[in-house]
């Protein structure tokens, strides 16, 4: 029976060493840090509204001449946070010393999250609300409550929109 010589044994070991030689590898690590903080942006299809004069008997609610306003609200909010769009009148409708309550302005909202409402000069009124981050679009169609009791004049008021997320 043949017996392996010590020389052949050593060659076998060398061969196995060559096969088992580890591949070279070096690593380095880097840490990513991305500040995706809360930001918001609001835009309107128009920044002005006008209501034409009309007979209060035939047109008790005057629609805005420009039609609906398209609102685009973009917000990056915390997880499951509520994003709210509100509107607040800076004052009553005013023509010199004459005034008409801001509540004479009402609107109907359309689009996901948009609601109907009445303008206030005291408390911000909710125009729309959503949950979490995203881009939302909707419309607001304003109407003016017409009345024989108003004094003649050209009335105006500024409306302040605020998009917030806690």
């Amino acid at each position: 029976m043949p017996v392996a010589s010590p020389l052949s044994f050593s060659l076998l070991l060398i061969a196995s060493l060559a096969i088992a030689a580890p591949a070279g590898a070096q690593t380095a690590t880097s840490t990513f840090s991305a500040n995706l903080g809360g930001i918001a942006k609001l835009s309107f299809s128009s920044n002005a509204l006008s209501f034409p004069d009309a007979d209060p008997d035939t047109v008790p609610l005057i629609a805005a001449a420009g039609g609906a306003i398209t609102i685009t609200a973009k917000a990056r909010a915390s997880l499951a946070a509520t994003v709210t769009l509100t509107v607040l009148a800076a004052d009553d409708l005013r023509s010199g010393v004459e005034t008409i309550p801001a509540s004479a302005l009402t609107w109907t909202g359309s689009g996901a999250g948009f609601v109907n409402g009445t303008v206030s000069r005291a408390t911000p009124q909710v125009v729309a609300s959503w949950t979490g981050s995203g881009i939302r679009m909707g419309t607001q169609t304003y109407r003016f409550q017409n009345s024989w009791s108003y004094r003649t004049g050209t009335y105006s008021v500024s409306l302040l929109y605020t998009l917030v997320s806690p």
Binding site: P6, S10, A25, F32
Partner: protein, 158 residues
């Protein structure tokens, strides 16, 4: 068994040990070095409308490959998605632009498969540098937060 046979066998055993030792000394393998500067890559806060792609400060990669006759590869792998508590941003939103090309190439980060960042053959000595600019696709849909993740660069020879 004679005494002469025993002596011959002992000689052969010693010879084989010497061969093993020389084999170990002649098996140096490739010598690889890699370093990254800076070690933290920061994506600044940006408006997605005006900055749809947020570029981070470029990363300098210094690498050296010695005692190598074959190919070498530099890969990059993310340990996961960008995370901010329970919120996440898929790591595939991070791409990179690398120079010089070659040996560097552009790509998209993955958390599952190491992506090739550079490759070549033979030695690189003295050390050379590459520059990688990571870019995050910005979006309004991301949940607000400070996201982090670890990226691993690996320089290998087969």
């Amino acid at each position: 068994m004679t005494c002469g046979t025993l002596l011959r066998s002992g000689f052969l055993a010693v010879a084989s040990l010497a061969l093993l030792a020389s084999a170990a000394a002649a098996q140096p393998g490739p010598k690889l070095d890699i370093s990254i500067t800076p070690v933290t890559t920061t994506f600044p806060l940006s408006d997605p409308d005006t900055v749809p792609i947020v570029a981070a400060t470029p990363v300098q990669i210094t690498y050296r490959i010695r005692q190598n006759d074959g190919p070498w590869t530099l890969t990059v792998l993310a340990n996961g998605d960008l995370l901010a508590g329970p919120a996440s941003v898929d790591i595939s939103n991070v791409t990179w632009v690398a120079t010089p090309a070659p040996p560097f190439q552009n790509g998209v980060l993955s958390k599952t498969v190491a992506q090739r960042l550079a490759s070549g053959t033979g030695t690189v000595n003295p050390a050379r540098q590459g520059q990688v600019t990571f870019r995050l696709a910005n979006s309004w849909t991301y949940t607000a937060g400070l996201y982090t993740q670890t990226i691993v660069f690996t320089l290998t020879t087969p």
